[in-house]
């Protein structure tokens, strides 16, 4: 067996069948049952446990897809490549992808030349999800070539050794061993059994506190024959929840929630702002009696409330970009939709193309951004689906539309140098699922779990051959490819050869904004 190196830090893993990418030809209920059986193969041989959850945030998300499917491992139609899975980690770490073009069989069947047993392939892929690489042992589950599976399959020795090296063998519970104890020969002093104070320190995990004679012949004892007796625990049964308001608290219990001050409901809060709907104070409908004259009354934001304004400018605001002739500050794929940012504005492209009414102000979507926002530097969707927006020397992190507590954070907190004024771009690279930051002629790899850039960075941008320095933006599109933007053009990047696919830039507007060719400026693109 071969251990890849990454492993889960917890053993109670969750899994789910993707809500969006389900098998097109299989019954999802039967599919889930087969997947559960495949996971059970690993559960039976290790300390791992698997719980199915109805969430795409599970540790292991199983999906079925065809051809290109947002990673750098496209499927190839029926035959040859059947599936792949990612090693443990955040984001898509642990996820397993199955080729939806295959003829999947829900029953183990070695004799069918055409079909492929989902159980066999899933059990193999989950081995990767748990951190195992391919094994060269023929007959091992982690052997890379498909071998089929029997219905009474048990994990081969090679794989069992691998998984147990990583997570340890399964702990077998011996009936009656814990928490029942045989009475000791000499009863404990009565002083300890009669005390009723709560000052006695006791271990919280009393179930793991074993009796010293537990390995002697005759153990364990059936509980019905012997009274429960705990010389070191006079107050058994022990109900820690009954003690929550005593002064002598258990170390894992805190009293802070009892000492919170009672909210003062008589005085109206001055800091209250409604979370929904997202109405900014400058909205004409916002109830603000005795509002002083707005110094920003000529602000170009006004066209967005035209029916309520009287001094509406008749022309486009000076900083409002031309959709078909502009550079981009940032481009990001968020929840499967393309967001393009320029100055204070952004466009949004969904399944049916560009949303009408756009560009609109960025702050209308993310109101936690600074009020004097002029632009953003970089935007990307993190593997945990939070949205990171970089402005100058700060990172703003949003959970959907809401600014996460503790943000904005300075870039220094991410391990970036103090001297760095801004990022040019940020992305999760489809090739390896890792996060990268770009600025000037350097780039960094960012460890999302540690929240810090990795050692041995920054490196020179020359590694990304063909895109040069001082890029505007970069992101991974739905085709799994990486696109770099600079000026009014873009390059498609070949992740395998680490260079651009075309030396000469292509114009951004026709591709990303759907603009007709005649509307586009004729500036010479970068080479």
């Amino acid at each position: 067996f071969a251990v890849q190196g990454q492993k889960w830090k917890h053993t109670n893993l969750t899994w789910s069948l993707s809500s969006l990418r389900r098998p097109s030809t299989l019954d999802p209920h039967h599919t889930r049952a087969v997947l559960a059986r495949a996971l059970d193969v690993w559960e039976q041989a290790s300390r791992l446990t698997f719980t199915e959850v109805n969430s795409d945030e599970a540790d292991i998300v199983v999906s079925f897809a065809k051809r290109y499917h947002d990673d750098s491992y496209p499927f190839d139609g029926r035959g040859s490549i059947l599936a792949h899975a990612f090693f443990p980690g955040s984001g898509r770490g642990g996820d397993a992808h199955f080729d939806d073009d295959e003829l999947w069989l829900l029953q183990p069947n070695n004799d069918d030349e055409e079909g492929t047993s989902l159980l066999a392939v899933a059990a193999h892929e989950f081995g990767h999800s748990l951190g195992l690489s391919h094994s060269s042992v023929k007959g091992a589950l982690m052997y890379p070539w498909y071998q089929g599976i029997q219905s009474n399959f048990v994990l081969p020795e090679d794989d069992r050794n691998g998984i147990q090296q990583m997570y340890g063998p399964k702990e077998r519970r011996i009936w009656g061993k814990i928490p029942y104890y045989r009475p000791v020969e000499t009863p404990a002093p009565t002083t300890t059994t009669t005390t009723t104070t709560t000052t006695t320190k006791r271990p919280y995990h009393h179930h793991t506190h074993r009796h010293p004679q537990r390995h002697q012949p005759g153990y364990p004892y059936r509980p019905s024959k012997y009274p429960t007796y705990y010389p070191e625990r006079p107050n058994y049964p022990y109900y820690p929840e009954r003690r929550h308001n005593t002064t002598e608290e258990h170390p894992r219990r805190t009293t802070h929630h009892y000492s919170r001050p009672t909210p003062d409901t008589t005085t109206p809060s001055t800091t209250y702002r409604p979370r929904y709907p997202q109405v900014r104070p400058e909205h004409p409908g916002y109830p603000r009696p005795n509002t002083p004259p707005d110094p920003r009354k000529d602000h170009p934001k006004k066209p967005y409330y035209p029916e309520k304004t009287t001094s509406r400018p008749s022309t486009t605001p000076s900083d409002k970009p031309d959709t078909c002739d502009t550079t981009y500050d940032a481009v990001a794929l968020i929840r499967g939709e393309l967001f393009i940012f320029k100055n204070r504005y952004h466009w949004r492209m969904g399944a049916h193309g560009r949303y009408s009414g756009y560009p609109i102000e960025i702050s209308r979507m993310w109101s936690g951004l600074p009020r004097n926002l002029t632009h953003v530097d970089a935007v990307y969707e993190r593997p945990d689906r939070k949205i990171a927006i970089f402005i100058g020397k700060e990172l703003y992190l949003f959970d959907t539309q809401y600014l996460v507590r503790g943000y904005p954070k300075p870039l220094v907190d991410l391990g970036l140098p103090e001297s760095l004024d801004r990022l040019d771009a940020a992305m999760v690279w489809g090739y390896n699922g890792k996060t990268y930051f770009y600025s000037g002629n350097m780039y960094w790899k960012f460890d999302e779990e540690e929240g810090h850039v990795e050692l041995d960075y920054p490196r020179d941008m020359a590694m990304w051959k063909g895109v040069g320095y001082n890029i505007d933006s970069v992101f991974q599109w739905k085709d799994g490819k990486t696109y770099f933007f600079k000026g009014k053009g873009y390059w498609k990047f070949n992740d395998l050869q680490m260079q651009v696919e075309h030396e000469r830039q292509l114009l951004s507007a026709p591709k990303w904004m759907g603009c007709p060719a005649e509307r586009i400026g004729h500036r010479e693109p970068y080479r």
């Binding site: 890849q4 491992y73 499927f75 035959g79 040859s80 490549i81 059947l82 599936a83 792949h84 899975a85 492929t116 392939v121 193999h124 892929e125 990767h128 690489s133 391919h134 060269s136 023929k138 890379p144 070539w145 498909y146 090739y431 390896n432 890792k434 490196r459 590694m463 990304w464 992740d495 395998l496 050869q497 680490m498």
Partner: protein, 103 residues
């Protein structure tokens, strides 16, 4: 005008290219620019050829086949078999790392 390759030579070339692609896809052979191989001469070409043979041998060993270094029938059959899409050998997880130079 160039004379077209004889059919057998053409088949061998295609066979080699398909094998090379397979070996690269599953981590037995480092990915490079395909056109580079055509430009190599002398020692460089020999080294390139050695890498290929070593990769074939590694594949055969991993697949439990007789290790010959030649693309024989058993090797072809192995490469046609249905399999997992993950590479068997991780030659550096990332493209950028593959391009790193030693200090």
């Amino acid at each position: 005008a160039q004379r077209p390759l004889p059919r057998r030579a053409r088949d061998t070339l295609q066979d080699t290219q398909a094998t090379r692609s397979y070996l690269q896809q599953f981590g037995y052979l480092r990915r490079g620019q395909p056109e580079v191989a055509n430009l190599l001469h002398g020692d460089a070409a020999a080294t390139h050829e050695d890498d290929f043979r070593i990769a074939v041998k590694t594949l055969q060993e991993f697949g439990g086949l007789p290790v010959t270094g030649e693309i024989d029938e058993a090797t072809r059959e192995l490469m046609k078999k249905r399999r997992c899409g993950r590479p068997d050998r991780d030659n550096g997880d990332e493209g950028e790392d593959r391009r790193r130079r030693k200090r």
